[in-house]
């Protein structure tokens, strides 16, 4: 190549510090990227009522616009860092945000970048500290008079109910990709006389036949098959 090895290497330009600042908004679990500042539960409650409650409910309990943010965690969980209600034996119906999130940085980062849903990136640094504090308070992770700040957030992390609830010990974790990536479930390629239980374990309940609309109108009008006309009972 007469034009040198990588003649495209100089394409583009250096960003300015202000440009990096405008876009580099991510906050990591080690709080790299977290802006200095603080916000109280009280301030957060005000922001929440004004800008969040309409979608998420006054106490983060709403299931209307999105699944609930608060609920399902206990004082015990805060101690252990494992949300007991996630265990299959608990039969707990819904998994809330606080039951799942393992790092408080995630709440800060996400609310700062994406909330309120219809006006993302409109909150001030104080607002974000405040609503995160308010949500944590709703989960009894911080007290009512708490002021969350870049100084004390690492302490709060130690009280996150599900902070020990994650594992990367599985075959789909990407860094393992090039190395092991061992699948956890294996089938065998049996071709004949294969062992099967054989009976039908589950099928669509009769009353859900038309839950997705008239399937006749969701299938091609020619070809080997037609869609079920779900305005009528099944053919005999």
């Amino acid at each position: 190549n007469p034009a040198g090895d990588k003649p495209w290497a100089n394409m583009g330009r250096a960003p300015t510090p202000a440009e990096i600042k405008a876009w580099d908004i991510d906050v990591r679990p080690d709080f790299k990227g977290l802006p200095k500042g603080s916000g109280s539960v009280k301030h957060g409650e005000e922001v929440w009522i004004a800008k969040c409650a309409s979608c998420h409910g006054e106490f983060g309990e709403s299931n209307e616009v999105f699944t609930p943010i608060v609920g399902g965690t206990t004082k015990k969980d805060i101690e252990t860092g494992r949300v007991a209600n996630l265990h299959v034996d608990k039969y707990f119906p819904q998994r809330t945000t606080l039951m799942k999130v393992s790092t408080v940085s995630t709440l800060w980062d996400y609310i700062n970048r994406a909330m309120p849903w219809n006006a993302p990136k409109s909150l001030s640094v104080e607002d974000v500290y405040g609503v995160v504090a308010y949500i944590l308070h709703l989960g009894d992770i911080v007290p009512e008079d708490f002021v969350l700040s870049d100084q004390n957030i690492a302490e709060v992390q130690k009280r996150m109910p599900n902070r020990n609830g994650m594992t990367t010990d599985h075959g789909l974790w990407l860094p393992n990709y090039a190395f092991s990536g061992k699948p956890d479930v294996k089938n065998t390629r049996c071709m004949n006389n294969c062992p099967v239980e054989g009976d039908i374990k589950s099928m669509l309940p009769e009353n859900m036949r038309d839950a997705h609309g008239n399937l006749f109108e969701q299938q091609r009008l020619i070809g080997p098959m037609r869609g079920w006309d779900t305005t009528k009972p099944p053919r005999k």
Binding site: W8, G12, D26, L172, C194, L204, Q218, P234
Partner: protein, 410 residues
């Protein structure tokens, strides 16, 4: 006896009303005796009006608002391996946009010397770079999620329609990272970030980022569709599609994962013991019969060409087996070409329906030797609440009345 069908199917019967022949042949239609439409009547063409049943659709009740939701590809009506871009499944977290590409920028940076020459690119500049064109599937990690516990939806559009396959064109992320002077020894992860309201962020391990990840502007020969990230998106082949960040505006190189909202609140797989598997990226080997499939009715007994799709996030498809007796016996299907890594492979299989109940299944094997599992095998390890990565063998019951239903059999 033949299974007489409703609207539109009568013409398929072997017997004719009139002995001299069918009107469809004897009476020459207008299109045989008239003058049609001019060329370029449509500078950009659309499907036939007779095809309007094949649409992307939401699954009622799955999500609460349509801007943070999914629309499913109608796999039941598709052929081959290329998904028409207009029917590519959609997943948005804060709605889609049609962004002015002349104002779109991509920034690449990283602290602590991980990136020596941070850069900003215009689309003009990106599209000048050495590019690749590759066919890859995209599958949402939540594809087939509704079926972990029970049958919940009627058709393959809703069971498997969060997957599509396109030819993508763009520059390899590794090319960009090298231009920016990445420290290949110390860099461990990159963060990809979108320009939409959600500014979707996902952590990608450096092994992948330096392998086959594409910063793409082209999809099936033209620019990305707005719903698929116009003018720029990431394509992370073989990995759940949420990592293929749309409206890509920023790549940051770092040394630790970010644990973003969609890495610790969603796209985590709950195990029975209450632990969540995190960073479960790879879409394991999977297949599904699309013809015939749930919600359809067979017009008649006799021969059918069973057809379906297989894919693997770990490599190429080596074989697909089909069973018509609920998994007791299997025979290999014919694989159409091309067979490409991390791409859909189309399979076909001869079947004669004798009018008795039958259970149709397909089972894919990939180049690592992995064999697609049964739902009970998955459940034994992962329970029924892990939402993501359900790559179980799909069963379709053909009843005596010709109706094909979604069932679970193992």
């Amino acid at each position: 006896k033949a299974l007489a069908m409703g609207a539109g199917a009568a013409a398929a019967g072997k017997a004719m009303a009139a002995p001299e022949g069918e009107d469809a042949i004897l009476k020459l239609p207008e299109h045989t005796t008239g003058l049609g439409q001019p060329v370029a009547a449509r500078g950009y063409g659309m499907p036939s009006k007779w095809e309007s049943n094949l649409q992307r659709r939401e699954s009622p009740g799955l999500t609460r608002v349509s801007q943070a939701s999914v629309s499913f590809t109608p796999l039941q009506g598709l052929f081959g391996i290329i998904t028409p871009s207009g029917l590519h499944f959609e997943r948005h977290h804060q709605g889609w946009w049609d962004i002015d590409p002349s104002k779109h920028r991509l920034m690449i940076h990283g602290d602590d010397g991980l990136i020596k020459r941070p850069r900003v690119f215009t689309m003009d500049e990106l599209m000048r770079l050495p590019s690749v064109s590759r066919i890859h599937f995209l599958e949402c990690g939540a594809n087939t999620a509704m079926e972990w516990a029970n049958v919940a939806v009627p058709t393959v559009q809703y069971t498997h329609g969060m997957s599509s396959c396109s030819e993508w064109t763009g520059v390899l992320l590794s090319t960009l990272l090298d231009m920016c002077g990445i420290d290949r020894k110390r860099a461990k992860y990159v963060l990809a970030e979108g320009a939409d309201g959600s500014s979707m962020t996902r952590t990608i391990p450096i092994e992948l980022a330096l392998d086959d990840v594409i910063v793409a502007w082209g999809q099936n020969g033209e620019m990305l569709r707005p719903e698929n990230g116009y003018p720029l998106r990431l394509i992370v082949p073989g990995v759940q599609a949420v990592s293929s960040v749309k409206y890509l505006r920023r790549i940051e190189v770092g040394d630790k994962p970010w644990n973003t909202k969609d890495e610790t609140i969603h796209y985590i797989d709950l195990l029975p013991n209450g632990l969540h598997r995190q960073y479960s990226g790879i879409q394991e080997c999977k297949s599904v019969i699309t013809t015939p499939s749930g919600g359809q009715t067979l017009l008649d007994r006799g021969y059918y060409n069973i057809s379906g799709l297989a894919w693997s996030g770990r490599g190429t498809i080596k074989a697909v087996d089909v069973s018509v007796d609920g998994g007791r016996t299997w025979r290999p299907a014919r694989l159409e070409k091309p067979i490409l890594p991390k791409a859909f492979t189309r399979f076909n299989f001869d079947w004669v329906w004798d009018g008795k109940p039958a259970i149709l299944q397909s089972r894919a094997i990939d180049s690592t030797g992995y064999v697609q599992p049964k739902i009970n095998q998955l459940r034994a390890v992962r329970g029924t609440r892990s939402i993501y990565h359900n790559n179980a063998i799909q069963s379709w019951l053909v009843s005596e009345n010709g109706e094909v239903s979604n069932v679970q059999v193992y």
